[in-house]
Amino acid sequence: MADTALPTHGPRGPKPKRALSRTNIIVYGTLIVVSLYYLLPLWVMVMTSLKGMPEIRLGNIFAPPVEITFEPWARAWSGACTGINCDGLSRGFGNSVQILLPSLALSVAIASVNGYALANWKFKGSEVFFTILILGAFIPYQVMLYPMVIILRELGLYGNLWGLVLVHTVFGMPILTLLFRNYFAGMPEELFKAARVDGAGFWGIYFRIMLPMSLPIFVVAMILQVTGIWNDFLFGVIFTKPEIYPMTVQLNNIVNSVQGVKEYNVNMAATLLTGLVPLVIYFVSGKLFVRGIAAGAVKG
């Protein structure tokens, strides 16, 4: 619990003996077989998105394309139709970025301060609020829809970007606060006490001590939020309007509007394009994510 330095790296399991031991064959064999299960959908999506419709109709979905075409990608990005708009996903991308950045900044900032207060500045009732917050993580979002609409209307925020930012901040708060609280609680208490003796206040300690030390957990929080906010459809469509619909709304529209035949290749390309931002983030920062989780999530 008190071990604070960045999470210990490196495997801790028992060391295998020989390169081709029976254990090794089992370990690698299992991992490779399981990897196939995880990779299968990605493989199918990528392959399908590179095929033409005639080939899809005839062929096997697992086979690589005989003739590679990037046309489905082009159509998904800028040609697929919903209603009378035929500009694909391109319109939604900018909107999604516009929604993501302030939501990300605000939700992570607030959750980190919450977590810090809960870990280091407990006040009467703070644990009660925290428990309510965690219980809130279990309430289906749909239940909150109408009351949230009414709250935002009363605040005068309904239908604009800031309303949506607020919604993302509120619904991201339980899990993020839990992460930050656990992380800060795991820092050595002496550090905090020393700063207090030196007269540093709430914000002083937060900005000068806690913040610089909490990069790993910030990375985790940001990755979780990017994924959650980017993939959100429900809030994006309820709390905004067409000019600022996120990419997922366009994805839903492309995938669910069947004009004649279902264009599976365009659907798959659109799906991959929409998932690209979180996917890239995971591929690039997977290692930091694991470190951050090790530092934050696993300490009770």
């Binding site: 900044a105 009414i150 935002l152 239908g159 469509v237 309820i238 309007k241 709304v249 669910n256 509007s257």
Partner: protein, 412 residues
């Protein structure tokens, strides 16, 4: 943390893309090929006639996806300019709560009461003598669509009514065709049930159940026959694993299936695929048994807006929607029937002509739509029951009927 304020400022600047004046946002869920083509005619006519912009708020995924969005927007005080809704009982409450614009003046100025046929359509928009929506088209659900080639391949004649269709099913199956194409969504199961029950149980029984909510009739022998017919149709539809209605229609278009029970909106899909009515496919209103159609349809509602400019644009849209040219263009594209009895639809194809004839024949062939007589709640319960009944071959017709009668008994 220090980064945050500047980020916020940046995105706020980006976010300030306020709609320019003179644009009206219209929300709808018309996203299939034929539907999108029809919306386009509306948008173009509106922009050409009024000089205002049409902001298209299409949401794919049927009314179930779109409705929470529409209602949230209205409740949240940031309504769209106009929205598609099925007329009838669905919007009653919004009207009673004063959230919908009264367009009686537009209706009077344009003489809607004289031109709209059947008059029930305008009544569906009327609450306490005031008019709150613009009926746009008439959709009837009771159609059987048949692929000529599928029957040719199976070596049987194209059926002219439901019992011939049932008789031809084994031959279709043998030829490797799906006798009856049916999408898996609950509303489609319910639509097929409603249509079959109207044909098999007969008009009087149908009216007693759907309009008078007579649970005895629902539990009686006429409906027992209808439930048996559905159980039989269930076997003809077994193996039809598509989801969307137009995927099922596509099975008929590509001759992989013999027929589909679907509303007249399927017409738009046949048209988009370049098929010719009477040659490549044919259609049987009322399953070829009773030549009756219901008169459901789409209507456009106009949520109340504080901005008088928006109100003016809304009224302009209402006027455009009912203009003869728009009625012709929109309905030809969508495959639905116009709400005006006084316009020239001679360019309509053989199937639409059949529908127009029934409409012109007057009250005998016209039923109110289920949307007008049953609440969404009751319809939802029946849909759940039908989804289960069509999917679960172990559920007997008698069990399904007993549960149906219960739902009707509780309906208000």
């Amino acid at each position: 943390m220090k980064l945050t304020p500047s980020l916020l400022a940046l995105t706020a600047a980006l976010g300030a893309t306020a709609a320019t004046a003179g644009e009206l946002e219209v929300t709808h869920w018309w996203t299939s090929g034929g539907e999108a083509a029809a919306v386009k005619t509306l948008a173009e006519a509106y922009e050409a006639k009024t000089g205002n912009g049409w902001v298209d708020g299409a949401i794919a995924g049927s009314g179930g996806t779109a409705r929470p969005i529409i209602i949230s927007r209205i409740l949240g005080g940031d309504p769209m300019g106009a929205t598609q809704m099925t007329h009838g009982r669905q919007a009653e409450e919004l009207i009673e709560a004063g959230m919908m614009l009264d367009i009686t003046d537009v209706a009077e100025a344009n003489g809607w009461t004289d031109v709209i046929n059947p008059p029930a359509l305008l009544e569906g928009c009327t609450v306490d003598g005031r008019i709150y929506c613009a009926p746009l088209n008439i959709h009837s659900a009771q159609w059987l669509w048949l692929s000529h080639k599928a029957f040719e391949d199976a070596g049987v004649a194209v059926p002219t009514n439901w019992s011939e269709f049932v008789a031809a099913a084994p031959a279709l199956k043998e030829a490797g065709k799906q006798p009856l194409a049916l999408g898996q969504q609950p509303w489609q199961s319910n639509l097929a049930f409603g249509t079959i029950s109207l044909a098999v149980a007969g008009l009087d029984a149908w009216k007693a159940v759907n309009i008078d909510k007579n649970a005895e009739v629902a539990a009686g022998p006429d409906y027992a026959a209808a439930f048996e017919a559905v159980a039989n149709a269930r076997e003809m539809a077994a193996g039809s694993n598509v989801q969307d209605w137009n995927q099922a229609t596509n099975m008929v278009i590509t001759d992989a299936a013999g027929g589909q029970i679907m509303g007249d909106w399927a017409q738009g899909e046949f048209a988009m695929a370049g098929e010719v009515a009477g040659e490549d496919y044919s259609c049987l209103p009322g399953l070829g048994v009773n030549a009756v159609l219901d008169t459901g349809g789409d209507a456009i509602y106009f949520p109340v807006n504080d901005d008088p400019e928006v109100t003016a644009m809304q009224k302009e849209l209402a006027e455009v929607l009912l203009s003869p040219e728009v009625q012709v263009a929109f309905n030809l594209a969508k495959g639905s029937l116009p709400v005006r009895g006084d316009i020239d639809m001679s360019t309509a194809n053989a199937c639409m002509q059949k529908g127009l004839e029934i409409l012109a024949g007057g009250a005998d062939g016209i039923l109110p739509s289920g949307d007008m007589s049953l609440t969404a709640d009751t319809t939802g319960q029946v849909e759940d029951l039908m989804a289960e009944f069509w999917a679960d071959s172990s559920m007997s017709a008698a069990d399904a009927q007993a549960r149906f009668a219960e739902i009707i008994a509780d309906a208000d």
